[in-house]
């Protein structure tokens, strides 16, 4: 496969993108039945006649899923249909128990919206308006695992095993209109759009939006044309690009690949392509030259949805502040730099910091904990920050103990470790781990005496005004008390004893 350098490709061609995002809603039950939607559990135990597609079973729409879909539509500045229907998308595939997907076709619930996206480029931050074609409701499929042949790969497998726990989980499919005039920013725009969409969905509290677990999945459609006035070229559809970084890379790759083909006088084939995270390449899947015929028709087992305008307005009132607007408001409130704000956002710590501040902690301390110690631990454990077993209120308690002199930074980290290991409440942990500062003057003076006795030269140095020599004594005291001394206090006592002053 030949590739053209990205910069050259952009000089010669104009990229046109279309992004399709599938979001799994975090409803308790499935789209059309009462089976649970949570992860885990034995295979094929979150299933019933409806989601297994047993003969005779019938779907009934989950009200919460419709509500979430409308809220998503409103947050994307969409119009909400006054009347729309579900439709059957007919094709055979073993992960789909009915051999049709209950989806929406020419009557989507939400349509004609947009999302403004800030893209940080070499030339500064630019805002792109991504136009939304539609957001519609549908159901997820089951999961096939391929056995034999290369592990987990469909190609060369001997047979497959099917688990339908995921079948019927509500999905919202969000489709953009063609994204034009992005030029060399195309990969960044794609990434920034999905990132902004993810923030928005998280703020709406409608989905877990975990790309790595597949609750947010992205298909990248891309084509090249000679210039911004030429008709669209033939597009490729790269399926399941499931991290923000991969989206950027996949767009770059497809631009380079298609540019090389066109440059060699070849035709781009309309086809599905598979993204390979490991190599950073896409490879050809099924050709779409013989267009699929899904034979859509209105779902006779479900009645139309006609959301009243009152309901829509009621839901509009539940929308959270737009994430971009909220970010700039918070940045101004905290008075921090763009760089510092970006660190908070990219660590996925924004809501956690906000909640911690709300619990009574200063924004500096809140940011320090979430971006420092806690980010490090989350990273080590391979979990999201929000999954750590620590609450904003815990951090408030810890900060209070530090201010009161009961804990120092080191002990606080020790307490946090205890919390994350589920060792109980903060006071339990302090007691069990024996984590209180030794603030008893006699005990500290005894330790100081001990340390001084071991280092008689230090006394002299200090008395000669070389105050930095005190560090060795403080260190020795800290060591003797296993870190449970307040360093400032030790210093103060030491100077008092030696009759020197820090000023």
């Amino acid at each position: 496969m030949n590739l053209m350098a990205f910069d050259e490709a952009i000089e010669q061609f104009d990229p046109v993108m279309g992004l399709e995002v599938h979001v799994e809603l975090s409803t308790k039950s499935k789209m059309f039945c009462g089976c649970r939607t949570d992860f885990g559990g034995h295979p094929n135990t979150h299933v019933c006649p409806v989601c297994l597609g047993l003969p005779g079973a019938l779907p009934v729409v989950n009200a919460k899923a419709v509500e979430s879909a409308i809220r998503i539509g409103l947050a994307l500045n969409c119009e909400i249909a006054a009347w729309c229907r579900f439709a059957r998308k007919n094709y055979f595939y073993p992960d789909m128990p009915k051999n049709f997907q209950t989806s929406q076709y020419d009557e989507p619930l939400c349509f004609n919206g947009y999302l403004d996206v800030d893209v940080v480029t070499d030339e500064g931050t630019k805002t792109y308006r991504i136009e939304i074609e539609r957001a519609h409701m549908e159901e997820d499929t089951g999961k096939a695992s391929h056995q034999g042949g290369q592990t987990g790969r469909i190609h060369g497998a001997d047979y497959s095993l099917l688990d339908y726990n995921r079948a019927g989980i509500p999905l919202i499919e969000i489709v953009t209109k063609p994204i034009l005039h992005t030029g060399k920013d195309a990969p960044l725009v794609a990434k920034a759009y999905v990132s902004a969409l993810r923030d928005l969905l998280r703020a709406l509290d409608v989905s877990d939006v975990r790309m790595e677990q597949g609750s947010l999945r992205c298909d990248v459609n891309l084509s090249l044309r000679k210039d911004a006035t030429s008709p669209f070229g033939t597009r490729s559809e790269t399926k399941n690009v499931n991290s923000l970084r991969s989206i950027e890379r996949a767009v770059r790759f497809e631009i380079s690949r298609q540019a090389a083909m066109l440059d060699e006088g070849k035709k781009v084939i309309q086809e599905t392509r598979h993204w390979h995270e490991d190599t950073g390449e896409t490879t050809a899947g099924r050709s779409k030259e013989e267009a699929e015929d899904y034979r859509y028709f209105p779902e006779p087992d479900l009645v139309p949805i006609a959301p009243s305008r009152d309901w829509v307005e009621e839901l509009r009132n539940t929308l959270p502040e737009n994430p971009a607007v909220r970010r700039s408001r918070l940045q101004a409130e905290w008075g921090i730099s763009d760089h510092d704000m970006n660190s908070v956002v990219s660590a996925g710590a924004l809501d956690l910091v906000v909640n911690t501040i709300a619990a009574g902690v200063s924004h500096t301390a809140a940011r320090k904990w979430w971006l420092g110690e806690l980010s490090r631990i989350a990273n080590d454990r391979g979990v999201e920050l929000g999954e750590l077993a620590i609450t904003p209120h815990n951090l408030f308690e810890i900060e209070t103990l530090i201010a009161g002199g009961t804990l120092n930074d080191k002990l606080a980290r020790n307490v946090i470790e205890g919390l994350l290991n589920n060792e109980g409440s903060i006071s339990t942990i302090i007691q069990a781990r024996g984590l209180t500062l030794v603030s008893d003057d006699t005990a500290l003076l005894a330790a100081i005496d001990e340390a001084l006795a071991q280092a008689p030269d230090v006394v002299e140095k200090i008395q000669q005004g070389k105050l930095q020599a005190a560090g060795a004594i403080v260190g020795a005291v800290m060591k003797a008390t296993r870190g449970q001394a307040d360093a400032a206090k030790v210093k103060e006592l030491l100077f008092q004893k030696l009759g020197v002053s820090e000023e």
């Binding site: 034995h42 009347w83 099917l162």
Partner: protein, 98 residues
């Protein structure tokens, strides 16, 4: 209006996942042609101004609350499976995705 070719019938059979013999294809091409000629009558009266009916009884907004209801046990799920392995339905190899 509708003459169905053998190729068209073969395409329909493929879409519908029906492995038909040449003889059957021939037979169905002829029969379906006759039926289609007869049902094409609907186009005589279906003018643009008429609203199509998908549901005979007009109803809207039939929803259920987002509540969890009991699901099948693995044993119940497996009961009619032609092949069952490792708590899952075993199916022949899948050629390509989607």
């Amino acid at each position: 209006m509708a003459e169905l070719s053998r190729e068209q019938v073969a395409h329909l059979a493929k879409l519908a996942r029906l492995a038909l013999s040449d003889e059957e294809l021939e037979h169905y091409a002829q029969q379906l042609g006759v039926i289609l000629d007869s049902v094409a009558k609907v186009t005589e009266v279906a003018t643009a101004d008429i609203k199509p009916t998908s549901h005979a009884i007009e109803m809207t907004n039939v929803f259920r609350e987002d509540e969890i209801r009991p699901s099948f046990s693995s044993e119940t799920t497996s009961r009619n499976a032609p092949e069952w392995e490792d708590e899952r339905f075993r199916v022949p190899r899948i050629l390509d995705e989607e």
